[in-house]
């Protein structure tokens, strides 16, 4: 093949890729392409293999190291379990009372969505194109929320069979409807510099303090309400009417080895359109 033909092929390959990239940039948050799903399905098994190997080595070394302390830990955990059992009974009682009161005033609230437990098989939380890949083993969908016991991790952006790629909360293009737990003041959390988050649209007259817990507001159709997002580490007056607020994520992404995908349902299209077009 002549060099001229190769140049044509190069131009065609670059042009096609540019088209795909432009289409993605135009409809951010849309369904992933088949090529993306295929690539994820082809490469993610290698990450899973590594994850399995590392888990095996961890398990062996832990078994070797903690054999002697297992009995003591077992005793401690039994005491903890008994305490938690008592606590659970109290909470159950409180929940039942709340349910009865809610029924009396005909208050309806969304129940907790079902969870899918997923293994974290690849995480890159440091580089500028940060990502996380899960092995969920079951069907998960695009735009489902991913959480850890400590708080929000991100949302699913691409799925291939049992594998799911997650946009981390710290990604610059990630945004979450959030609120201050103490005052219920709502704002928007987005990815910031160096793995930190920014909390925007908190007016200057609001009561905001360093150390305040920021939780999900449940208004974006993806994340349910009251899941921890992070804690405020810096508050300064911004340029306009709002504070400039830094938030440290609640989740340490470097320590993450398991996550939970929330099977939340997206808002119906008609409702989303109606919200966008709404006139105040």
């Amino acid at each position: 093949m002549s060099e001229r033909h190769v140049r044509w092929i190069l131009a065609a390959a670059l042009f096609l890729q540019l088209l795909v990239l432009t289409a993605q940039a135009a409809e951010s948050g849309g369904e992933p392409s088949r090529l993306e799903a295929f690539a994820l399905g082809a490469v993610a098994p290698f990450a899973r293999l590594v994850d399995h190997g590392a888990d095996l080595v961890d398990a062996l070394s832990i078994r070797w190291r903690v054999r002697t302390s297992l009995l003591e830990e077992n005793r401690r955990l039994r005491r903890e379990l008994a305490r938690l059992e008592n606590e659970r009974i109290l909470w159950f009682d409180a929940a039942e009372r709340m349910e009865r009161l809610a029924e009396a005033v005909e208050y309806r609230h969304a129940g907790a969505p079902p969870l899918v437990v997923a293994d974290v098989i690849y995480v890159d939380h440091v580089s500028w194109l940060r990502s996380l890949v899960l092995w969920a083993g079951a069907d998960v969908g695009v735009d489902q929320a991913v959480v850890a016991p400590e708080g929000v991790v991100g949302r699913v952006i691409s799925v291939s069979g049992p594998y799911a790629k997650v946009q981390l909360l710290t990604d610059r293009s990630a945004t979450i409807g959030a609120m201050l737990q103490r005052t219920r003041r709502q704002g928007v959390v987005r990815g910031g510099e160096g793995g930190m988050l920014k909390l925007d649209f908190i007016p200057l007259r609001s009561d905001v303090r360093i150390g305040d817990l920021v939780v999900t507001a449940g208004i974006d159709g993806i994340y349910p309400r009251s899941i921890p997002v992070g804690r405020i580490t810096r508050v300064e007056e911004g340029d306009e009417l709002f504070y400039d607020i830094d938030v440290a994520p609640a989740v340490d992404f470097g320590q993450l080895d398991r996550a939970y995908v929330l099977a939340t349902e997206r808002l119906p299209d008609e409702l989303e359109e109606a919200t966008i077009d709404a006139v105040p």
């Binding site: 293999l49 500028w128 981390l168």
Partner: protein, 170 residues
């Protein structure tokens, strides 16, 4: 056969990348094994193979990284083609020359990636200068190692073939 070897090596690169990311937090930010693979392969190929290798390995890298799918595919296609073209027009490479080639390839790839995200995304995440310099340095170092290993392997293979031929002639 060559295609099968390509797939096996690409799988190995994905495996090594996953191992690096699993055990060292900063690994994906500072080392790009997919790029090293593209340059190593393209340096021994014609331009068509160079661009095909760049495209495939770049998309494999995209599968694991964040950002729009195809960023690395685009940049690595250019790098694969460029490296094959450059090597075809160069005299024999020394180890230092090979390291320089890998470093230039890494710098071009980062520049293309940054240009793409700036053009495509409204408020893009950009790599720090430190991580860019690390990637260029690590790519040059790994490239020099690959170059040396390949040269030694080729020398050993040649000696083995020659001794086998001598024995057959005897």
């Amino acid at each position: 056969m060559r295609f099968l070897r390509f797939l096996v090596l690409l799988g190995l690169v994905a495996l090594l990348h996953s191992v690096g990311a699993r055990f060292v937090d900063w690994f994906p930010a500072r080392v790009d094994l997919f790029l090293v693979f593209v340059v190593a392969w393209a340096a021994e190929s014609n331009t068509l193979t160079g661009l095909a290798v760049g495209l495939t390995a770049g998309l494999a890298a995209d599968a694991l990284s964040g950002g729009p799918f195809g960023l690395n595919g685009f940049a690595d296609t250019l790098v694969g083609y460029g490296v094959a073209l450059a090597v075809a027009n160069l005299a024999k490479l020394s180890t230092g020359g090979a390291a320089a080639l890998y470093a230039v390839a890494a710098a071009v790839q980062r520049a293309v990636l940054v240009l793409l995200v700036v053009l495509l995304l409204p408020d893009p995440n950009l790599p720090s200068l430190e991580s860019v310099l690390w990637t260029i340095g690590s790519t040059a170092l790994l490239g020099a190692l690959v170059f040396q290993a390949r040269r030694r392997l080729a020398g050993s293979l040649q000696r083995w073939r020659k001794s086998r031929e001598d024995r057959l002639r005897f």
